[in-house]
């Protein structure tokens, strides 16, 4: 076993150990609540995989988490802690919704790129402001992005209840977009090839998410911009010395992150609900942090971690349906634990694992 392989093995084992620790504590919480953790686990897995509708939902949630996971990862590579994906997804989604409302009679192949652009512009703007304040004024992005989440929420509540709500409707939602701009659902796409699958909210955005994973991977590791971004994240002083603008890269990272977070709107608004509504982004932004950290901020890891959280979300929904005492927020609790163990306590058992791998190698 060469050094590279040993390193990969260590990282993988560390990640799995941390994940297991998070699950162990979650299991204890379930046990304290007087429920059976094994039964809970089985119910969750069945809910997530056991039948094709569950699987569809799992992948549908996975799509969202890929976007917010990437949003966090891009910032993290630049040394930023962008916890504002929640607000960026909300405002980016607003852009998607506005484009769809405005151009609902246009063909999808024209509206889709415009919606992507709108999401990048608005979501990116929502990231750019905290980015600018961080770069130029030194305001910590954790506080400013959280504040921007709240501001986004106020903006959306007001827009949806006063401006976008059709006059005769009661609920704060926009009207439904024309069917022409709906992103085809997965069962429709499969139908083109003559394969029949169950109808779920899973839609073509999933493919777009996979493309985004690939593009971000290329961007971060194989372009000059990605290199500059990582340099700023690893060593600001070195970056300045090399003539790399720290402020510029911070702002770029936040814009890209905001744009990626905004794509949640494409999955949720254009792909599933077909209208702008309140809180479509709820919790997805925060989940991105856990997804990125457990995926070690690498697109491949993010894909796996997003899938894991897709399972937790869908399985968690099934679980709270089966067992009244366990609330859907259980998954938020697990997220917190995952961030704690995979992020802050990542070195908890690292020395032991390194020892173990070393012994294995010799």
């Amino acid at each position: 076993m060469n050094e590279g392989h040993a390193n990969t093995l260590v990282v993988t084992l560390v990640t799995i150990t941390n994940l297991l620790l998070a699950f162990l504590v979650s299991g204890i919480v379930i046990w304290v609540l007087g429920e059976d953790p094994w039964f809970a686990l089985k119910t969750m897995l069945y809910g997530a995989f056991g039948y094709d509708e569950g699987l569809g939902y799992t992948l549908y949630y996975t799509t969202n988490f890929i976007f917010t996971g990437l949003a966090f990862a891009v910032g993290f590579h630049c040394g930023l802690f962008n916890i504002g994906a929640e607000g960026q997804a909300y405002i980016g989604g607003l852009g998607v919704g506005l484009v769809c409302l405005w151009l609902e009679n246009w063909p999808l192949w024209l509206v889709f790129p415009l919606a992507v652009l709108a999401s990048i512009v608005l979501g990116g703007l929502w990231g750019a402001i905290p980015g600018y304040l961080k770069a130029k004024r030194g305001s910590h992005e954790v506080v400013t992005t959280i504040m921007f989440n709240f501001i986004a929420s106020v903006v959306m509540v007001n827009l949806l209840s006063h401006v976008l709500r059709p006059p005769k409707e009661m609920s704060p939602e926009s009207r439904e977009f024309g069917e022409g701009v709906w992103i085809p659902q997965m069962h429709e796409i499969f139908e083109w090839f003559g394969i029949e699958i169950t109808q779920t909210p899973l839609n073509g955005t999933f493919i777009f998410a996979l493309i985004c994973l690939f593009l971000v991977w290329r961007f971060i590791w194989y372009t000059r911009w990605g290199y500059e971004l990582r340099t700023v994240g690893t060593n600001e002083t070195a970056a300045v010395y090399a003539g790399i603008s720290v402020s510029k890269n911070i702002i770029i990272a936040m814009v890209i992150g905001g744009g990626l977070a905004g794509f949640v709107g494409i999955n949720e608004i254009m792909g599933s609900s077909h209208r702008l509504m309140l809180n479509f982004q709820a919790g997805i932004g925060f989940t991105g942090i856990a997804v990125s950290l457990i995926g070690r901020n690498h697109p491949l890891g993010i894909l796996l971690a997003a899938l894991l959280f897709g399972i937790l979300y869908q399985g968690g929904a099934e679980l709270s349906f089966e067992v009244q005492a366990i609330d859907r927020h259980m998954v938020v609790l697990i997220q917190g634990l995952v961030i704690l163990f995979a992020g802050a306590l990542e070195n908890l058992f690292r020395p032991q694992i390194e020892q173990f791998v070393k012994r294995l190698a010799t």
Binding site: G138, V142, F148, F150, I151, V155, G336
Partner: protein, 324 residues
């Protein structure tokens, strides 16, 4: 007009309490060199535990003790991750905040099944307002009597404790020998270490105080300000307190004034007079949202240092290691 002003100032004081508690807690942690973005989680956890324990025991004081307990537990987890294990401190804080968001709702639903709410507390189980001596009698004195009756008197005990914490914090930080060690630990841990004082122990002590104050900030929300816990009750207040602390440049009195300023904005934003006043300047359709988001926007503006640059303790966020 005078009466309006009195009422607004009275409301400002009530609203400011969780900010003041949390900001003082934040000062202890950050002055010792440990980042604390986790005030939000401690506030939320404190609010939930206080309401729950107060409901079970029918005593607000047991509730308060419970909130202090959860505050300490959270700050010790943070301490273990960031002091002992030298992990990323911001990550640890965000983990605690998100964990608290999930845990409070899961437990509230499992125990009470009311959609993330806890049952309404009876008068005995919460901190009621107390009338200070001679408030009625002094009322006839112009201006001062009003101020005494309307603003100073008639709050729950936690309000007085919160404002007492400001001079106490200032004294501990700037006048006590523990405070000297604490500040030195945050500025130059190596120097502290060479004098034979344990940097890590000092930081843990600072976090202990931080946990106590963080928990108390939550107890105020659920057992004094309101009489129950509700999902996401802290609503960013922990972060705003942190911003107030930064605006106050990590000093107790300026931080307290920053808290009062933010609270003043919360207090006036729902007043119809303010609405009428701004009607001419901002379009009515936007005015409501403008007022709703004003505390958050101002937090951002203040934090951006448009009121002067803030310089953090030098060693903040750096785990201490003797080997360096």
């Amino acid at each position: 007009m005078w009466n309006d002003l009195l009422l607004i100032l009275d409301a400002t004081l009530r609203i400011s309490v969780p900010f003041v508690f949390a900001a003082m807690g934040g000062i202890f942690a950050e002055r010792s060199g440990v980042i604390d973005f986790g005030l939000e989680g401690k506030m939320l956890g404190g609010a939930f535990v206080a309401a729950t324990v107060a409901y079970w025991t029918q005593s607000a004081w047991w509730g308060l003790l419970g909130s202090i307990g959860i505050g300490i537990i959270f700050s010790m987890i943070h301490g273990y991750a960031s002091i002992t294990k030298r992990g990323n401190q911001v990550v640890s804080c965000v983990a605690i905040n998100i964990f608290a968001m999930g845990l409070t709702v899961v437990l509230a639903n499992a125990w009470f099944g009311m959609g993330g709410k806890t049952p309404q507390l009876s008068r005995e189980a919460r901190f009621m307002s107390i009338e200070l001596p001679y408030a009625e009698e002094f009322r006839d004195i112009p201006i001062l009597g009003d101020i005494y009756y309307e603003i100073i008197s008639g709050h729950s005990i936690l309000v007085y404790i919160a404002f007492l914490m400001v001079p106490v914090t200032a004294w501990i930080i700037f006048k006590s020998s523990f405070g000297l060690r604490l500040r030195a630990t945050g500025e130059n841990p190596l120097a502290v270490d060479t004098t034979g004082i344990s940097v890590n122990k000092t930081r843990y002590q600072a976090l202990l105080l931080n946990g106590i104050l963080g928990g108390m900030s939550g107890a105020y929300l659920s057992t004094a300000h309101l009489a129950f816990f509700v999902k996401d009750m802290s609503a960013g207040k922990g972060y705003i307190a942190l911003a107030a602390m930064i605006v106050g440049k990590w000093r107790p009195y300026p931080a307290m004034f920053a808290c009062l300023l933010f609270s003043f904005l919360f207090a006036i934003k729902d007043k119809p007079e303010v609405f009428d006043l701004l009607k001419g300047i901002v379009p009515v359709k936007l005015l409501n949202s403008f007022l709703d988001m004003s505390p958050y926007i101002l937090t951002v503006i203040f934090l951006a240092g448009f009121v002067g640059r803030a310089v953090a303790p030098k060693a903040i966020g750096q785990p201490f290691s003797k080997e360096k």
